[in-house]
């Protein structure tokens, strides 16, 4: 009867054991996440011989909040294509009678899972192309897969550029469609001294590096450069540094949950938009709604699309989106890109089928380049040379209702240039032939000028 004098709950284990069990749990977690994210195909009637398309957005994990909205916009577009409604009206149900079957995977905000799941989509599910990814990290993670297996990814997010792949169609902004116009705007309207902040990963760092070069070319200076760990919601230090540096404006490349926390604590610290306005790239209607409009009032965002864009296509888009997902939802620039790229894909498929072809990577690539579409933001086009998209460049000033007043807009969609011309003069991306997969990066040595999409 030598029973230990400790109760089972009190003394049964040590800290070391706890650490051991902890690592075990984390390991199990990774396993669980790998087996999760089941493929779902929906239960709607897809008729005969549907076209399989992969949809790859995280609906769980840290990035889920925004990726879920991209998935919603994609689903809306696919539904409109399958039911002959919205912008697809008059084209018949599906694509030349064949409906789109979506194969949905959820990579759980885990970069490795993006890689594995894109492999699965291409090899096992045999999709003809994939719509998906949000962060640059996830895109970089799947890029080798799409290149090795020669499949196509439609990527809907503004990004830092410096990339050129014949396996990706980039339908979000390149640096020259978001940074190039916003920096001179800040310089002229707020002053020469900028304080740059961002989340600590590739997009914000590279984007700020380009913006820094642009600002210095314009004659301004960067008085501070601070990064916060991804997902941080504690900004006391950065705000104190901003107070100390007294800049004319703050350029924010914070992403995700950090955005509402930063704007709230910024106002809480007593800095008003009149004193030091914030110019942001990733802050959209979604985040404004999540922080409460009063915190963003008077600050700015540079984006291709705002919910307030005044086109008949946008009015229809906003209305249809709210009908499907609820009145309280807002649309934003990334969602619009996810929406419009689905139509680019469908139009390309329609073209192939009309000409009696078979949908595969080669024909899809050939048919997608040069596609035009009357998107909610206006007429846009996929550049046949660099596979990025002609997009509008706009600056919005946030109002008390959480919507942006557009204070700057280019007259037409701007030709995309994946490399910042301040940092890499003359470097661009030219795909010589539709199925040419040789090195498409070209050094022209010339100043590449801003070109607008000509209305035809």
């Amino acid at each position: 009867m030598n029973k230990p004098n400790r109760s089972p709950i009190f003394g049964g284990y040590s800290r070391r054991k706890f650490i051991k069990y902890g690592s075990l749990a984390v390991g199990t977690g990774i396993l669980a996440a790998c087996s999760g994210g089941a493929t779902s195909t929906g239960d709607e009637d897809l008729g005969e011989n549907p076209i399989k398309v992969g949809v790859m957005y995280s609906t769980t994990g840290t990035i889920a909040i925004v990726e879920k909205s991209l998935q919603d916009a994609t689903f809306l577009a696919l539904e409109q294509i399958n039911t002959n409604t919205g912008p697809w009206e008059g084209n018949g149900e599906g694509i030349e009678g064949r409906k789109i079957q979506k194969v949905v995977v959820n990579p759980d905000s885990n970069w490795d899972l993006y890689n594995q799941m894109s492999k699965r989509l291409i090899d096992e599910d045999q999709v003809v192309c994939v719509l998906g990814c949000y962060t640059s990290a996830s895109r970089k993670s799947v890029l080798p897969v799409f290149e090795e297996k020669d499949s196509i990814l439609y990527y809907p997010v503004y990004y830092e550029g410096n990339e050129c792949s014949s396996n990706v169609f980039y339908t979000g902004a390149a640096p020259n469609q978001q940074i190039t116009d916003s920096i001179p705007y800040c310089y002229e309207n707020f002053g020469p001294r900028g304080f740059f902040i961002g989340s600590d990963y590739i997009y914000p760092k590279e984007s700020n590096r380009i913006a820094k070069a642009e600002l210095e070319t314009a004659g301004g200076t960067v008085v501070g450069d601070e990064y916060a760990a991804l997902g941080t919601t504690e900004f006391i230090t950065i705000i104190n540094k901003i107070k100390q540096a007294k800049p004319d404006f703050v350029l924010s490349n914070l992403v995700g949950d950090s955005i509402p926390a930063f704007y709230r604590q910024y106002k809480d610290a007593g800095i008003t938009a009149d004193q030091i306005p914030i110019m942001a790239y990733p802050t959209t209607e979604e985040e404004i709604q999540a922080m409460g409009p009063e915190y963003a009032e008077g600050h700015y965002t540079s984006f291709n699309y705002f919910q307030t864009v005044d086109t008949p296509e946008n009015k229809a888009f906003v209305q249809q989106f709210k009908e499907k997902f609820g009145d309280s939802r807002v649309t934003n620039g990334v969602m619009e890109a996810a929406y419009l790229q689905t139509f680019f894909m469908a139009q390309a498929m329609q073209k192939i089928l009309k000409e009696g072809g078979e949908i595969n990577t080669k024909t899809l690539r050939e048919a997608t380049r040069g596609q035009t579409f009357n998107a909610p933001q206006g007429l846009v086009k996929i550049d046949p040379e660099n596979y990025h998209t002609y997009l509008y460049s706009r600056i919005g000033k946030w109002g008390s209702d959480g919507q942006a007043e557009i204070v700057f807009s280019t007259p037409a969609a701007v030709k995309p240039i994946p490399w910042s011309q301040v940092l890499y003069k003359g470097r661009t991306c030219v795909h010589g032939s539709p199925d040419g997969r040789e090195n498409p990066i070209k050094e022209t040595g010339k100043d590449l000028e801003t070109k607008y999409l000509e209305k035809t």
Binding site: R15, L24, T237, I238, D257
Partner: protein, 316 residues
């Protein structure tokens, strides 16, 4: 020559460039705000882990549930944030009690199973909340009477150089009040005596007529309720989302483990140490580096002083 500069030298140089005593003072004052949040989130864990020795990986989700309680009450009844705090406590405590009865109770003395069960619970809770409220970020309005800043020092032009927002001070006050209340309940009341008796020697307590299962349930529910209050108070500083609890889980564990799991004063010490050192290093270098350094320091501390900074000396 710049190529050969070691990273350490580079960091030191960077630190020296931006240094100013007044700004550092401001940073230290504002560090109190971080201390308040750490204290608040660590307190509930000090009960469930420190007192009861339950490894509760769903602690962050109870914080999240508290924040959602505030959100629901505010959007449905337009209730002031301060008035939602008791409700946040009651609701999370009730859910905590349910969890104790249905899951934790069956796993006492099996730490590995408890760990997995509570970790699974955290995923379930996030999933349920996501189903009810969608993944959208929600926001909570902060009360207008706790806005603005307390200025401690001004420069020659009259602009505040050392200032802290009233809301941060409010968080610190709430955290200290809860700490005092918990200390009182645990060390000065009959219930607290029973809690300590049960956790120290369950069978003896049972022999003496203590209803141990009721005490267990009440203690766990109280710990969860504290997490709920933390969620309610923090909600207006940030935004409310299903995964928000994950951010606080690591910090809360770090606070409790650093301070020493046995004593409440350990939580205060842990929160103060981590919060202020984080604020100082973040001011001198930058935020991500500060986090790495503080985590590293905690690892070393645990290696050489596994019982934490403050701990009751136990006889062997």
């Amino acid at each position: 020559m710049y190529f050969y500069l070691s990273p350490v030298y580079y960091l030191a140089q960077e630190a020296a460039e931006g240094f100013s005593v007044v700004a550092l003072a401001n940073q230290l004052v504002n560090g109190i705000g971080i201390v308040g949040i750490l204290l608040l989130t660590g307190l509930g864990l000090a009960i469930t882990f420190g007192v009861m020795r339950i490894i509760n990986l769903a602690h962050g989700e109870f914080i999240m549930l508290g924040a959602y309680t505030t959100f629901v009450l505010q959007s449905a009844f337009n209730l002031d944030l301060l008035l939602t705090i008791p409700f946040a406590f009651i609701i999370t405590a009730a859910i905590g009690a349910l969890v104790e009865i249905s899951i934790i109770r069956r796993l006492y003395g099996r730490p590995l199973e408890t760990l997995l069960a509570t970790w699974g619970l955290s995923i379930v809770l996030q999933g349920v909340i996501k189903l009810i409220f969608t993944a959208q970020l929600k926001y909570v309005r902060s009360p207008s009477y706790i806005s603005g800043n307390l200025t401690l020092l001004k420069d020659a032009q009259g602009t505040p150089t050392v200032a802290i927002s009233y809301y941060r001070l409010f968080i610190v006050i709430v955290a200290l009040a809860l700490l005092a209340l918990t200390g009182y309940l645990l060390y000065r009341t009959n219930l607290g005596r029973q809690v300590r008796a049960v956790t120290q020697n369950r069978s003896m307590a049972q022999c003496l007529g203590v209803n141990t299962s009721l005490v267990d349930m009440a203690t766990f529910a109280y710990g969860c309720g504290l997490a709920g209050v933390a969620g309610a108070v923090i909600s207006s500083l940030k935004s409310v989302a299903p995964p928000m609890g994950q951010d606080y889980l690591v910090d809360a564990w770090m606070t409790v483990v650093t301070g020493g799991v046995d004593r409440l004063v350990g939580v205060l010490a842990g929160a103060f140490l981590i919060g202020e050192s984080n604020a100082t290093i973040a001011y001198l270098l930058n935020d991500p580096t500060a986090r790495v350094i503080v985590l590293f320091a905690v690892i070393i501390l645990i290696r050489y002083k596994p019982e934490g900074l403050f701990s009751i000396q136990k006889r062997g």
